[in-house]
Symmetry: C2
Subunit: 229 residues, 2 copies
DNA sequence: CAGTGTATATATACAGTGTTTATTTTATTT
DNA sequence: AAATAAAATAAACACTGTATATATACACTG
């Protein structure tokens, strides 16, 4: 068989490859993602994929960027559903949406925050824009609290010096917020991430610790600790 | 070549396989762990490994159990270096040791709590004993606080019913502590895990958020939130 | 319209992987 | 000493990602 005529070709093969990859990740999990399996599904040969992605890692990077974008879209949309003045409710809303997205798309969550692909390490420079944007919802709310003088952060560690340049790059994608707010956001993020990742990966002991209840408690803890009443 | 005489054989090949696996994980990372590579290193053939582990996943499980055991040893040892009456200091000590162990052995940490092996999912029943024991240091301190009436847990979510049996199994390995203490320990664990896993996996934005300082802050937050003064 | 160049696919091949089967040799037991 | 069990090798299968060479379809140019 030779190259098929354009009429039988798949239009926008680049997107079709990513779509098929997502389907396979959803069905069999990220670790078993295979270029050859994608090619079989699309009825093309494996090397054809190399016209669109230089190698498998590049495809994975594209998937990660898409996942970050989808995740960021949800975070920002959920934030904007709550009036700008209701900062506490905004924080709660994006916190709950965080877990919900992870439960809805566990494989995407692990693709982003885990290391489910053998030998793959995400290229920071490429991923940074979408990653920074996805966290910007949280950072914006924390910075809103800071501006409104409602942020409690007694004894919070100060920022290391010498990173101004990287921070400037970050700002281009995540918004121009105070780096102090960023650090507080980082702690909050690590808390929700810790709970969610244990729940998703099945590392929570299976004896009736309700993930949802624990998570609600943790969100309230965060609000109590960081928001002035 | 045929089977070598016993004198040239490696004594305790089972242990040697695990040791070589650890070396390769340390050098190249867990995801690229390869039975054939282990065999090459040991100058045996790959199928020979199947006399000691039924498949690669079984080897990984054995490695995970060893890692949990090593981790649990450190946790328990660190706890016991602080007098039994100094519960707050015990909590702080095991908290700091948690991060230190993760920084000392990042691959082991990711092997346990991440999903770095393609398609591998840890068999709960086999891993439970060492996993439960490794967390028992934390649970014991939390339960000590509860018994001493020093544990703050207002509004803490109640335990789901119907899991008595699993909890009984858990107790055999982790010690006979109150299930309420277990839930509090779970929250504390998720917090340190969240911060450590972000730091280990390089998912912390690279602009001067000092992992060590943040971690110390988080440990203090935990103490402030859960221990009566 | 003919010819050329480029993009896009296939075909083939290589080195690697986990795993299965059959076979051979060593070690142990009867 | 003979039979048996254990532990290794050898060979093969079905995969994987990827590099190279090749052939075809399409678009542009003279």
């Amino acid at each position: 068989m030779v190259r098929p005529s354009k009429k039988q070709q798949i239009p926008n093969l680049q997107e079709a490859i990513k779509e098929t990859a997502w389907n396979q990740i959803a069905e069999f999990g990220a670790p078993t993602l295979s270029l050859r399996a994608i090619a079989r599904e699309l009825k093309i040969t494996a090397p054809a994929i190399y016209n669109y992605f230089p190698n498998r890692d590049a495809l994975v990077t594209a998937l990660i960027i898409d996942a970050y974008t989808s995740f960021g879209d949800v975070q920002i949309a959920v934030r904007d559903e709550v009036p700008e003045t209701e900062l506490e409710e905004r924080l709660r809303a994006i916190g709950l949406a965080y877990r919900q997205w992870a439960l809805d798309y566990p494989q995407r969550y692990q693709l982003i925050f885990g290391t489910p692909i053998p030998g793959y390490v995400a290229p920071m420079l490429e991923v940074l824009p979408s990653a920074a944007r996805s966290l910007s919802a949280l950072v914006s709310v924390v910075d809103g609290l800071r501006v409104a003088n409602k942020l409690i952060a007694n004894g919070f560690p100060s920022i290391q010096s010498g990173y101004q340049q990287q921070f400037e790059v970050w700002k281009n994608y995540a918004g121009d917020y105070d780096i102090f707010s960023l650090s507080v956001a980082m702690i909050i993020w690590s808390r929700v991430h810790g709970l969610v990742s244990l729940e998703i990966s099945g590392n929570m002991p299976p004896f009736g610790v309700d993930g949802s209840a624990l998570y609600h408690y943790e969100i309230s803890s965060i609000i109590d600790q960081f928001i002035k009443k």
